[in-house]
Amino acid sequence: MPNAFWCLVEDDRNGSPKKVMAEVIGEASRLAPGRAEAVWLTDKASEAGLKQLAEWGAARVLLLEHAALAPYRSEVWVAAAAELAAKEAPKAIFAPVTSRQREFVARLAARLGVGLAADSVGFALEGDTLVATRPVYAGKLLSKVTWAKAPWVATLRPNVFRPAETQTGKTAPVERPAVATAAAQMKFVERREEVSTGLPELTEAETVISGGRGMKGPENYVILEELGRVIGAAVGASRAAVDAGWRPHRFQIGQTGRTISPKLYLGFGVSGAIQHLAGMRTSKVIVAVNKDPEAPIFKIADFGLVADLFEVVPELTKEFKKLLEK
């Protein structure tokens, strides 16, 4: 429908939308009640996935399903999405911040000749325009930006927006427009899976544990992983720990790593350098454990323990285990 707020679906590459889509659809529905539409580019969508999108509140699902859409390549996706956008004339195009949406949405905005507000943390309708709020300068300032014309293209930081409540049994029409596939120049070679830690993905986790220089060495991260398994948290690291070679870069939280915004952040032996804060300061509750009472992280922490993390972590694991067994 015209004036729709498109929500580009991020999926698990297995036919199901990721739960971050509840946040994207939730925010789109808040701004444009009844006009949030899920637009899903995939090689295979499951019936359960389509149902899920409707239950999160999508008024309609536009399913672009084609073998050429996997694995993701920006050149192929942009051609398909741009053609549909020309027909449908959406008012806004939203997507969650993920590695591929970061690229895809930027490229789509260029194809459509419109502005992009990446990594937004807030939106407000002001008259007939949308104003987005986004962190800039290592999260030290917030920038408010607006578009010269529609569609307003934006990516949304995960874990910031209130997720839509599941409306069990709600349905939505699913339309399957013809997919305009551009000939791909890029050829897929292989996918190399990371060794799974069995813990949630850093940017998606509701609870994140981070270990800094105070961890003293790579061998000590096992205690954080054990705590992570108890409370279902992802385990990340500060730049100091990554640069020391203790953890691979994919675990780095901060300006030159991942940006996270969990409900709960627990930092152990993390000093709180500006570049680390840039990646985690929008966390809702921040806990810091550090031996140094002067560590800058205490300035933004909601709860602080000036103590030895090697005493605190096992104790905390034990207490959480007790609590969660209740």
Binding site: S74, S99, V114, M186, R191, L305, A307
Partner: protein, 259 residues
């Protein structure tokens, strides 16, 4: 092989940023400027490709006011052969798309086989120019690359991009655009010889008129900057470790409802 590297000059992370009188930009007084870290990975990779192939040219390009010359000079000191400075007040309000348009015009004039960019600039963290440049050129693009290898005849590049849960490897025919992720390499420090040599290398000023069309008005504009709302004051939990941990768990559960 000719390689073009796009860079951006940004305030050093540790520098204090203050909002300027216009409420939309930062007060640049006393700001320490650096080349955005991801762009240094791009410069380093370009230099390594040239060194490995034993020939070629690496051209650094940046858009911004006069101060940007300093950033370009440090790329020349690292080993880039020459630099292009898109230096015109007409670009003062350039958004990512206007920047990508200017860069695309330079690419068309220069005709490189490869464009390397940083994943995102660490001032506005938009991370869009690389993809938009690829779109305007109609070139294939790989984001967040952790490895790359150009084939012997210089016709294609194999790039591994970082995605959630792993790496995805693609062959891209050249010319192509790649966005460097941290982990791609360890950027070199300029040598004294490099710094001295950089002074003699060319930095060509380019005005909007030199690229043909006048810049289009920005599609995204800054309405205003504001300071972060202060976080409520935190609480240091006192006591011996077992007592403090018990209290922390209780507070997280009952007061903060975070677990």
């Amino acid at each position: 092989m000719k390689i073009l590297v796009t860079i951006k000059q940004v305030p050093d992370t540790a520098t204090q940023v203050k909002i300027a009188a216009d409420g939309k930009s930062i007060d640049t007084t006393g700001v320490t400027w650096i080349v955005s870290p991801y762009d240094e990975f791009a410069v380093e990779e370009a230099l390594r490709i040239k060194e490995k192939r034993g020939q070629g040219e690496v051209v650094a390009v940046s858009l911004g006011p006069d101060r940007v010359k300093e950033a370009l000079r440090s790329c020349l000191a690292m080993g880039c052969d020459r630099a292009i400075h898109l230096n015109d007040p007409a670009w003062a309000a350039a958004d990512t798309l206007a920047t990508a348009r200017a860069l695309a015009a330079v690419v068309k004039q220069e005709g490189p086989q490869l464009v390397l960019c940083g994943r995102q600039a660490i001032d506005d963290d938009m991370g869009a120019v690389t993809a938009q440049l690829a779109e305007l050129l109609g070139w294939p693009c790989a984001y967040w690359i952790m490895e790359e290898a150009i084939d012997a005849d210089g016709k294609s590049v194999r790039a591994a991009r970082q995605v959630e849960g792993g790496l995805e490897v693609f062959d891209l025919p050249l010319p192509a655009v790649l966005a460097a992720q941290k982990g791609l390499n360890e950027p070199r420090y300029p040598t004294l010889k490099g710094i001295m040599g950089a002074k003699k290398k060319e930095i060509r000023d380019v005005k909007a008129a030199d690229l043909g069309a006048a810049p289009e008005p920005p599609q995204l504009s800054i309405v205003g900057l504001q300071a972060l709302p202060p976080r409520p004051p935190g609480r240091i939990i006192q006591g011996d470790v077992p007592t403090a941990v018990k209290e922390l768990v209780r507070a997280l559960r009952e007061d903060a409802k975070a677990i």
